[in-house]
Structures are given as C-alpha cells and as structure tokens.
Symmetry: C2
Subunit: 525 residues, 2 copies
C-alpha cells in the first residue's frame, strides 16, 4: 500500500491494526545519500572499532534525508500454516507545517540520487506528496506553542512586544492599540453587553495569509462549544504535523521484533529523524536504540552467521532472497492480506522500500524455519518469538570491518585480538605497493588505510610482529607500533580531550538528560 | 524548448546559433534552496555592506543546486519591427560521469522544494534526465586523466602500482603479470608477427562493467585509424561530461548583454557551478564575473531606478511584467521563432526558468523602449546596444539593504552616509521593544538586527546622534557607538586577520592564480 500525505490520515487505522496483530515487522529506508565523507574508503576502515564506525556514520550520514520508508507486517495464521503480510510504502518529506515550523535542510548525493532515478524512484511523489514528521523535541515545542497561544488568547498570559525578528507567535496587541481595541469592544457591545464572560477571541487567517483577530459575542455555552471545537482542531493540526513519526511511535510501542537487512543506517536514520538527534557516543546510541526498538534482527548478519554462513555465498538482499528459496531452505508460505497490494518477487521492485522490507521478511522467515530443522523432532515453522532466534537479536551487521562482524546494541561489543596488527606511519607519497615492499620479508599482509600517512598492516604470522617492530627502530622515513601501543596512545589523547570536556564544556550533562527523557517517552506513546 | 540529457547533444547547434544571432539574452535559474543560514533575517541585515552581503550569500547559498536554467534569446527583426525569441528550459543534474568523476553533494531546503512542488516543478525530470556539467577545474582534471591514459596505453608512460584507495585510473599491468602478457602476445603473434609497431591496445568495458585489455594485431594504417577513432570517442565523452557548461561558455564567449531579474544569486550560482568556486572576497568576485559575463542588466534594479521608480509600484517579476504592458509603457512586439515552443503570458508558467527568462526579456524590452520616448524625436524601439542603457549595466539589485540599491560589478560600490546610524550592543534578552523604549526620546528609529546582542539603530535626526552616544556613557547594560566608530573597530579586526593570513596561510595566492586562469579561459572558448 502506497502511503502519501493525501491518504495518510485514512491509512493510520489500518497501519495501527497491522502492527497490533503482527508477529514481527520488517522495515527498510531509502535515503537521499549514503556518505558525506570524501569517499567510502575514507569513511570506513577495516580496523575501525564499533565506536569509531558509529562516530563516522553519525557525522557523515545523518544530514541525508530518509525519504521512503517501507514497513511490512507479518502475522502467522496457525490454522492455514502461512503468514499473512501487509506492506506499506511511505513517502516522507519535511514539508514545513507553518511559518514557524523548522525549515529542514538535507543533503543529496548525486550518485545515490542517480542510482534511485535509474531504478524508477518517484521523486515527485516524495516532494509533492511526502508525509511530514516531527521529532520529539519539535513536537514538544509545537505543543508548548499551542499551549502558550491558548493561555494568551484566554487572557492568562500578558501580551507583550515581540521583536520583528522573532515574531512567530500569535498576534499580540501593542500597548498603543489596546485602547482602540477596547473602544471597538465597547462599541460593539454597547450598553446591552449582557455577556460578562461571553467573548470569544480567535486569530483567523484568510486564504491570502492575512491574519486578523475575530472577536465574537457569544453566551457561555456557545463559547465553551467553540473553544472545544478549536481545541480539537488544534489537536488535529498537531497530529498532522507529527505525521509519519506516529507510525514509528506505534512500532516502538508495540515492542515487536523489527527485522531489517544491513539495517544499521536504517535504525540510525529512523531514530535521528523521528525521535532525536543522535547522541555523540556509541553507548548512548545503544541506550536510545533499545528504548525505541527493544528487539532488532538484521538478516544480513543472520545470513553471515552459523549455520547459514557456510550455505550462503552472497548476502546482498536480492541474492539472499533467491538463495533462501532453494535447498536446503524452503520458500516461506506468505500471502498478501486481503485488500493489500501484493508484491511479486519475480517482478523485482528492488529499492522500493516497501518491497525491500517485504523480501527482508521473507528471508527472515526462511532462515528462522531452517533453524527448526535442527530440533528433534524437526519443525517446519519457527515463531518470531522462538528462543532459537535469541542469538541473533540486536546484532547489527557492520560493513567492511575485518574482524568485528556486528554492532551489539544490547551489550558490549566484541574485542577482537589484534596482536598481529601493526600501526604504520609513513610519508604521504607512499602507496600500498611501498607497504608491500616494506613487509615483503614477512609473508602475506593485509593493509587498511587510515589516512594519507598511516595504515594498519596485519601480518599473517604473530611471531613476526616483534621482529617487524624491532627492525623499524632505526628507520627514519616510517614508524611501526604494535596495535596495543597504538590503542594506548589514542586512549591517552581521548582522556586529555575528556578532561577538557569535563572542565570546560556543558555538553555531557545536556546529552544524558536528553537521553533519559527520550527513553521514558518512547514507551509512553 | 525543453532540454534534457536525452536531447542535449542535438540541441547544441540550435542553441549556439540562437546565441550567435541574438541581440540580447535573458536568463533565470531555479535552485534547490535559497539560504542555508538559520533564517533570512539572520542572513540579511539592512545595513550590510555589499562585501558583507556577498560573503553571507557565498557562505549560505552556494551549496544549493541550480537545477533548472532558463535561457531566452531575443533577436530584433528590423524589417518587421519585432523581436523573435527562442526560449530554452534546461534541466541540470550533476550525474556522475564515471567511477572517478566527482560525486557532488548538494543541499535541499524544504521550503524551497515545497514551493517548487506546489508550482508543478518536475523533480523527476531533473534527477532522471538532468544534463551533467563540469566546472573548469574538473574539466582540466578530466582532460589530464585522458591524456595520461593515452600516454600510458601508447607506451610512453611507465605502468606503476596504484594503491587500492586511489585506483581510479586505467588498468595497470602489475610487474608479476608482465611476463604472462608478454607470453600471450608472443603466442598470438607467433613467428609470423609481421607488424613491427602494429599492436593496438585498448581497455574495454563490458555491459556488466567488467574491464579488460584488448590487444589487436593491426597494420600501421589500421592502427592509426583505430587510434583516431578512439581519440574522437574520448573527445565526445569529454564534451558530454562538460555538458551544460558548454552553453554557459557560449553565452560568455558571445559577450552579449545578459538580462536577469534580481539576478545576483543567478550569477553567483552560474559561475560557481559552471566556472569555478566563488572567490572569498567581493572584489575578486567582481573580476571573475566581468570575465564570464562582461555585460549584465538586472530588470529589478532597472525598475527600481529613475525614470521607472515612480511609475512602478511592485517590482516582483510577475507584477512588473503586467505593469509594463500598461500605459505609459507598451507591451513589446515579441514573437516566438519558428519551430520553438511559445510561452503564453496569460497561462503564467511562473517559476519555470525558461518562462521567467522570457518575461524578464519582455520587461527589459518594454523599459528600454520607454527610454526612447525621451529622445527627440521619440523612438519606439531602443536597441539592446543603445547608450541609453549604459547607466543600468552591471548593477545587480541588492535585496533588503536600506541605503545601497545595487552591487556595482564593474566598479566600486556606493558608500552611503551612515552618520545617523548607531551601533548598539545589549543583553541578549532585549527585544525590539526595548530598543524603541531606549530611544523613545529621539523620535522615529529604524532597527536592523545584527545578532542576539547587537543592532544598528538609525535615528531620523542627525543632531541627536551625539546626544544618544553621550547619554549612553554611564549605562551598564548597553553600549552605543557611532557607525564610524563601529567601522573603525571592524577594520582593525580585519587587518589583524589579514596579517595572519599573509603570514600563515597559502590561501590568497591560490585564489588569485585561479582567478587569472578562469579569466583567460573564459574567453578562449
């Protein structure tokens, strides 16, 4: 089902009940770009720690726009031994809600846009009909603005001058006009002013965006009714502005298993756009993520893990889906729910978020069911709540890290031994070939560039590490350290920075306060 | 005429001849956003100097994409006493040309995108069919890459290792494979190898993007012919990559009058995207602009200047076009050239760049002809080359500057007297009302905010300036300086910065070198 600004409100009920009844949910996002860094190789290093990778992704990827979101819900029908699915393909765009709402700027990366264009992506639908959204901070601000306006109009607040530059609130009555307005009021009420509290005041905007204050004489009952109507209208306006974020709130509140394929960026973008700016450090990100999505499963990580690793040669989504239809796997029995558009995997609408979410779900079901074949007696259906799936929970695939397969969202990350790794610094003219030559006596090596003048070099034999370090002692053009020495030096630098932060900057406290409130609120909706 | 990637090459000839035959050209651009600053009010200050405004626009507006360019050419047909026009509406997109071409990132501003969407703007056409482009530096780099590849393939260069991170060039033959390739070559030539220099080597890419080296045995004549073919193919590829920039080069080379409406941002974006990154300082920008567009005319500035100023109430493009059809003006006689799509001003396709360029041209003709009514005897047609137009040349409208109407591209800017202006600093809680209160004894004032804690305040009476400064001497919460004092303090800061720049940074020399080359080349094509 395609969901745009036009049919969003009518679709909300079906979306909520689809989430409610589902056994698990699959998601996918399409973005206006991937990496704002100079190049992917500069953005990723094979020896990145999970924390380093997170910091890079946060810095270089969050200014792109998530502009299509796929949500596919899967409900298992026991009686028919099959899944019923409902696919939603949302177009998302931060259309400014009013003059005082945030005017979002986002980056587009030509190569990503060109790629989506070649896949037939409909940009007009995004920009003309995308559903708006607010993150939690923006939502709070908007609610406060409405509250403030209400209290002002109802006479609780004090009208005040607002400087032209910040004049974004309601119309305020300048002192020099109060007298005039008072006289208009007396004149219209005259002596027959029988309504002691019977005045209804409202700011009205014409089609030409001219704003004026409308004052009506009403009796008490009428006034209450009008205020109630106005309140409801405002609530609806606010809900419209919160827009697509309501869908993510519902997913979050459901607490259900959320499946994605290579989903780290999807999760980061979803939280960043619809909840809060991402925290600076990985541990805080993990905490927020667990609040928003308490149970995640990444099919790319699952396919790269035992017992699937040996059976699956290509873990890209399209290839994975094909392989999981063949032996020893079985194509899952999934049908489209009544009244919902079905996707045909033969027609391959790859890179449409709704379709990608759908086949991600298929991959998950196939792999889950395959785990059932190891049980005695074997079972052909494994529920999304099965304990067999627990080893795969909350582990998000990490691309291009040599020895750390995943980011562990619900606990500490793996700490690979890097005893065979050397940290080498050299003149910026050096190329990979120079490194190969330098280490030619030490057998096979693996080079992970850090920047123009440094790289990690992995030796194949551990006992040669010390020899390499020793031989470098008298070298002038390059320098070799063990990975442990490198980490130590880095830790020292970080501590110095931290100390500065504690002494001088107010950043840290702000961050953790923001986190807590996000967390408690994620479950209150 | 709509021009996209699909029909661009076929349209070039008609475009070149339209420019060639024209008496003047009108242009307009549509952008993915206007201001990257926190808000327009923060971006513009009524007391900005032209230099300050330029720096702000350069900083906050150049990361947006100019994605639609309108060019309308006007040729006067003496015999029929009417203009013949040709309108071109170009869709522009920096589609990456190859794996090693720049992957441009650009910003989109939601409010601008939403506005264009509401006008029916076709984003799909931009992203799917936009014409690519290169600026001069990128073009040079590409030409060098081709040259380098040619010399390598022809055996003049030495094959060398290229590190994986920078492997973007041609396929190089690693030392360990040279022997193998040598053997293949001997085997295929065998003893009957009668072609001493008759080997043609070429890198071939299959549809699946697999690349391999194709070695063919050819005689000398055949070899030359193939090299020639290859050379021509490469030249065409390069021209395709330079793409839309070729149109701007042709406009520049023609040296013809280029008319725009409120055209400062159009000119800045055009130079930035198709020539070179904009220089840091205004004077250098003026120099580049005069190289690229030696004769500019801004219809918004013209309409805001005598004798038009008194006659025209609204200088927005759509309103101006309407007013210039009515007395004392006359709707110009303009017809669409044969074979070209005509625009109907009644159907108002405002904010399509080709249409906006067209009605900008109409406005210019009306106003130029009106100047003829002052001649004795009056003339109903004034040529685009008439001396009567000289006062309007190279003066670009400056929005929201109180006392400087235009940026003078071909000379020094106006230096308005600001003797009645005060520079006031105050606590950040202050609002405009506080400033009104502070100056309540001094009659009418005009406030131009600089930031949270400072503003310019213009007094209506000059003699009160010193009184205001004197009364502030004992104030603790705020501080008042004359505009002259403010300038002096600022100049001092700038000089300190300049000194640093000269001592430490290499920026300045790079800049002026780039400028000269841009200038000489702008006229060499």
């Amino acid at each position: 089902m395609e969901v745009t600004r036009q049919n969003f409100k009518d679709s909300l009920c079906p979306i909520y009940s689809a989430i409610e009844e589902a056994d698990f949910l699959a998601i996918d996002g399409e973005f206006s770009g991937i990496s704002d860094g100079p190049s992917v190789s500069a953005l990723t290093n094979g020896m990145d720690t999970p924390g380093e990778r997170y910091v890079k992704l946060r810095k270089h990827s969050m200014d792109f726009l998530l502009f299509q979101f796929g949500l596919c819900t899967f409900r298992y029908d026991q009686s028919q031994s099959k899944y019923l699915m409902k696919a939603f393909n949302f177009y998302i765009f931060p259309k400014p809600f009013s003059r005082n709402s945030p005017d979002i700027k986002f980056i587009c990366q030509s190569s990503s846009i060109d790629f989506l264009a070649s896949q037939g992506f409909d940009f007009n639908k995004v920009f003309r009909s995308g559903i708006p959204y607010l993150n939690q901070e923006e939502e709070s601000q908007l609610r406060e603005q409405y509250e403030e306006r209400r209290s002002q109009v109802n006479g609780a607040g004090t009208p005040s001058y607002i400087s032209p530059n910040s004049c974004k609130g309601p119309v305020n009555v300048p002192d020099e006009h109060k007298d005039f307005i008072g006289r208009v009021y007396s004149a219209s009420c005259g002596d027959s002013c029988r309504y002691p509290k019977g005045i209804h005041v409202e700011t009205v905007e014409t089609e030409k965006k001219e704003r004026f204050i409308q004052i009506s004489k009403v009796d008490e009952e009428e006034r209450r009714r009008m205020e109630q109507q106005k309140y409801e209208r405002e609530q609806e306006e606010m809900n419209d502005a919160v827009g697509f974020s309501r869908v993510i709130h519902a997913v979050s509140k459901s607490g259900k298993l959320v499946v994605g394929h290579n989903m780290l960026l999807d999760v980061m973008h979803t939280i960043h756009q619809f909840y809060c700016s991402l925290p600076e450090e990985l541990d805080d990100f993990k905490e927020v993520t667990m609040c928003v999505f308490p149970r995640l499963l990444d099919t790319k990580l699952m396919a790269s893990t035992q017992p699937f690793k040996e059976l699956i040669t290509n873990t890209s989504l399209a290839e994975l889906e094909k392989q999981l239809k063949e032996k020893p796997f079985k194509a899952p029995r999934v049908e489209c729910s009544e009244g919902f558009q079905s996707y045909d995997t033969a027609s391959e609408r790859l890179h449409e978020a709704g379709y990608d979410a759908y086949i991600t779900g298929l991959c998950f079901i196939s792999m889950a069911n395959y785990l059932g074949s190891f049980l005695t007696p074997p079972r052909s259906h494994i529920s999304a709540r099965s304990k067999l799936l627990e080893p795969f929970y909350n582990k998000l695939f990490l691309m291009r890290v040599i020895d750390i397969p995943y980011l562990n969202i619900s606990g500490p990350d793996l700490q690979p031994k890097r005893d065979h790794v050397l940290y080498v610094t050299f003149p910026k003219e050096w190329k990979t070939s120079d490194l190969y030559q330098l280490f030619s006596a030490f057998g096979n090596i693996q080079v992970s560039w850090l920047d123009d003048t440094s790289a990690f070099v992995s030796l194949s034999q551990l006992e040669q590490v010390q020899i390499a370090v020793n031989t470098s002692q008298y070298a002038e053009s390059y320098r070799i350290q063990t990975y442990a020495e490198y980490l130590q030096a880095k830790q020292k630098n970080t501590n110095i920075n931290r100390k500065w932060a504690e002494d001088g900057w107010a950043d840290a406290s702000y961050k953790s306060a923001g986190m807590t409130s996000t967390c408690s609120r994620a479950h209150n909706r």
